[in-house]
């Protein structure tokens, strides 16, 4: 029995892009799920559970990323990550304009 694979496209809209602090939140959230989760920008596909990998995307504001998860909690994982991106990583009070993450 193969595991379900789900995909979802998200758009980075916070003004500073996917810099260190959002990348940390992104990876930290992905780590909470058992599914394998990739994040894809054009021809670059990386592991969503590694801050270093997420930073290699260099995703500035407006960048579209494809999230792909495979595993039992794949749907749930993508919903949670998509929500984090949609909220501009807003559950993070640290993303003030004062300090780049």
């Amino acid at each position: 029995m193969s595991l379900p694979v789900v995909q979802r496209t998200v758009k980075i809209s916070n003004p500073q892009g996917l810099h260190a602090r959002p990348a940390e939140l992104f990876a930290r959230l992905a780590l909470q799920f058992d599914s394998k989760i990739d994040v894809i920008r054009e021809d670059l596909r990386v592991d969503a559970k590694s801050i270093l990998n997420v930073l290699t995307l260099g995703a500035g504001p407006g960048t579209e990323l494809v999230l792909e998860a495979s595993g039992d909690d794949a749907e749930e994982a993508l919903e949670a990550i998509a929500q984090l991106v949609r909220n501009d990583f807003a559950n993070d009070e640290t993303l003030s304009r004062e300090s780049p993450g």
Binding site: Q16, G17, H19, A20, E24, R28, L52, L55, T56, P100
Partner: protein, 158 residues
């Protein structure tokens, strides 16, 4: 953005002896002070800003790499320094590994794009294991600079 575009050659330090996070950060900012990239008057303010950012969440990004950073009005362009710790620094990284390679970045408040591109460059290059391990083994600032130049010329891109 290439390493040579933001790394201050004179501020590269190898075999740093301090291992406490704050001391390491101070060492790196002192290196920028000694190479004339920031002024004496700004020193404490930059240290404080970087430490404050660390309180929000570690900048240890995994694989033994950390990127302590801040925005600061005292710089007009992105300023960076590199330090190598043989012993390793406890940085509370997400993957639990000690940090050996540190890239400290100070960016002007109005240039978030440059900051993001520097992070992109650092992380892309450091995904290459041989680059990572050569950097860790570097004994002198000249060795580090040579490796950064080689990376800039795509010699490590697989």
């Amino acid at each position: 953005m290439k390493f040579v575009d933001f790394v201050t050659r004179e501020a590269i330090r190898t075999s740093i002896e301090v291992t406490a996070k704050e001391q390491v950060i101070r060492t790196m900012i002192t290196a920028l002070l000694e190479s004339g990239r920031i002024s004496e008057e700004q020193y404490e303010s930059v240290v404080e800003a970087i430490l404050k950012r660390e309180e929000l969440g570690s900048t240890g990004i995994g694989r033994g790499v950390a990127v302590p950073h801040t925005k600061h009005p005292s710089v007009e362009e992105l300023v960076g320094s590199v330090s190598i710790s043989e012993e390793g620094v406890d940085f509370d990284s997400l993957d639990g590994e000690k940090v050996h390679l540190l890239f400290l970045l100070i960016s002007p408040p109005d240039r978030p794009g440059d900051h993001l591109r520097a992070l992109e460059n650092i992380s892309r290059q450091l995904r290459d294991e041989s680059f990572c391990s050569f950097l860790k083994q570097s004994k002198t600032p000249d060795d580090v600079w040579l490796l950064l130049e080689e990376a800039d010329n795509n010699q490590f891109v697989s």
